[in-house]
Symmetry: C3
Subunit: 283 residues, 3 copies
């Protein structure tokens, strides 16, 4: 998807299982490629942890752009059948098995992260882009959702923290309590994303912004992120509290009943989740 | 205003003096009906307190939709001639006579509240919708105002708390210091409401959202509201401080002089308040 | 630029070196007039300090409208060749030489301040309008930028504090890390300003709002500002921390190298800064 650049020596490829990663100068482009629907399972989490670790130790890397290899799904959501493995994979970064803490690590990193969103991004996928430093989405295709409250639980990796700070109490309550799908236009209006752009312009816009930012001194990235995060990034304690409440919630009988019903209707299958907002309302 | 539903057994009517309340499944629809202009006086406050108490004790009730029986006024504002009686009525909920504390109780309740706004909503009316969990307004008819600073006082029931958190310092200062009327389009842009919708679509939109939310587990409502409120709902102390400052303010000679002048120009009458933003600028 | 008024006795002119100040009733109109490009140097800072001091001691003054005598520049940015003198001038207000503390004094003042923005407003200029109580900009001509991170430093007078609270983490990080120019339409969407208005309507809109606010009791101005600031205005400690980090940053070799390169390309000259967002990306 990226354009050819002149100096081939600067373009490298790093090998991962579920990420297509290429490097151009100080920018890494990481496309999520976990068929059939970019579920967040342990392999993808391991790759993300590994990518962050490698990038943080390489001072020449300044910016990571996250995108998707699947036009319909950016990250669908966590693989609910593998929560234990997911937590083990997440624990490899800082010792804490909460995915929310992995995402908070990304938010607090000296690395600048940009999410380039096409297709559906729900549940922990939405929490992943919220943890990135900036979010730009294709107006025609991007769809956002935090469907967890349809199963009686709070999102487990920071969504309530980020959404409340970005869009205020009323809109955050609507988005969470409705558990519905939102298009890019409303996501922009509510502050879920920085901007919705025409799909045809999105790639050029994000590339240009990524290289621009990467060209400025790293000292500026660090001090700006530190000062902004001191105001607007949830504390590790608040992230942990949401994670704990999520884990409590998924042990409730009502959660299990609804999840079984959802599985029967095709939850975690590509076709059925094209309209997940509708599916969860029919349980 | 509500559509017929199949299962009549699920549809009940509760009787109040100033509220038309009907129940459909887990949703209560409460239309404010306090002619001639939906002033918030002690009868309406008593009804609201009673409705909240009854709904909270009935676990089958999950969502309350507030609307108006008057197309021109949702809630005009507090009846300034009956502040002592209003406070007595408010005190029946939790023992605290501040209307702001009644509203904070609603914000913190396990019940999900949605304001469906047509017509004017000013002063404590605006504070009432701000205390609700979500706000949707008719693009053509809804008008918003916090006119209290035109009389030299801060709104007494939480407006400064909510507006500052929803729209930021600059827009909150504009709205409060101008004491002017704002239409639904700007209210949406500023974050005063979730969304402005065409009047013809508003009722269907809110009904659909209310039943959708009501169909999800109550455990999810509670945990989501708790976590969002922990970030974005003003403390009881801050609500109390605003209430105290309001009461101090209304004893000032300048407040009394302006209020007398406003009364002479028709303040608290239906016709004169159609353009209240203009009226308060002419005192 | 202001319209003639009936009662000439109410119209006074105050004399400053870099500000054209006229008074109409309770409103001061202060046009920044520091050719060739409205750089913020010690003379302009001295004038601003003096204007604030005089206005605060005159109880009949309620509102100050800041505008520009230069259609292309509101305030370009701080004069980087005179930082020591600037700090001496700033120290005259409250003894603290940080410009951020002068701006915070304005935010906390009983005076209501409105920025009427045409042309470019970058660096400390943007921080100045952010410290004002409200911001309205000409849709066709206003351009906003915090370019400091292009030199590896954080803005020194509060931009990160204000922008993060106004627009949230993602958009604040974009604006700061991109160090780019933003037009009035996006500035409005992001919450950097209250509203973008057609240039032809801006002057009338701001005049009308200024006189409206000035006509309401001073007690209301004070209590509203106090309560809103208690929620949304950064503490003096946070303003000081940003100022200290800025001063640390400008002593770095990388800052000096980039600033020298910028000077060679015309930084701090009127023509070259018409497209400053581009200039800083080419260093």
């Amino acid at each position: 998807m990226s354009k050819p650049i002149e100096d081939k020596s600067q373009k490298d490829t790093m090998v991962f299982e579920k990420l297509d990663v290429s490097r151009e100068g100080a920018v890494l482009f990481a496309a999520i490629n976990a068929p059939p629907m970019n579920l967040e399972g342990p392999e993808l989490i391991r790759d993300l942890v590994s990518l962050i670790q490698q990038a943080e130790t390489d001072e020449a890397v300044r910016v990571i752009v996250f995108k998707s290899a699947d036009p319909d799904y950016f990250i669908s959501h966590v693989d609910v059948t593998r929560i234990k493995e997911n937590r083990e994979a997440a624990g490899k970064l800082d010792g804490n098995p909460s995915i929310g803490q992995v995402l908070r690590h990304i938010s607090a990193s000296r690395l600048v992260t940009i999410a380039q969103i096409e297709g559906r991004v729900r549940g922990v996928g939405s929490e992943f882009i919220l943890a990135c430093d900036m979010r730009f989405a294709a107006r025609e295709s991007a769809i956002f959702g935090q469907f967890e409250p349809a199963f009686g639980v709070i999102p487990g990796a920071g969504a309530a923290q980020h959404l409340t700070r970005l869009m205020g109490r009323g809109r955050a309550l609507e988005v969470l309590l409705s558990a519905d799908d939102y298009n890019a236009e409303i996501a922009e209006r509510y502050g879920w994303i920085n901007r919705a752009l025409p799909a045809a312009e999105l790639d050029d816009f994000v590339r240009s912004l990524a290289f621009r930012v990467a060209g400025f001194p790293a000292a500026g990235h660090a001090v700006v992120k530190n000062r902004v995060n001191a105001i607007a990034l949830a504390s590790a304690e608040d992230i942990q509290r949401d994670s704990d409440l999520f884990l409590e919630g998924v042990s409730a009988p009502e959660y299990r009943r609804r999840m079984q019903a959802a599985m029967k209707r095709g939850f975690q299958t590509r076709d059925a989740e094209m309209k997940l907002g509708q599916l969860v309302a029919d349980l």
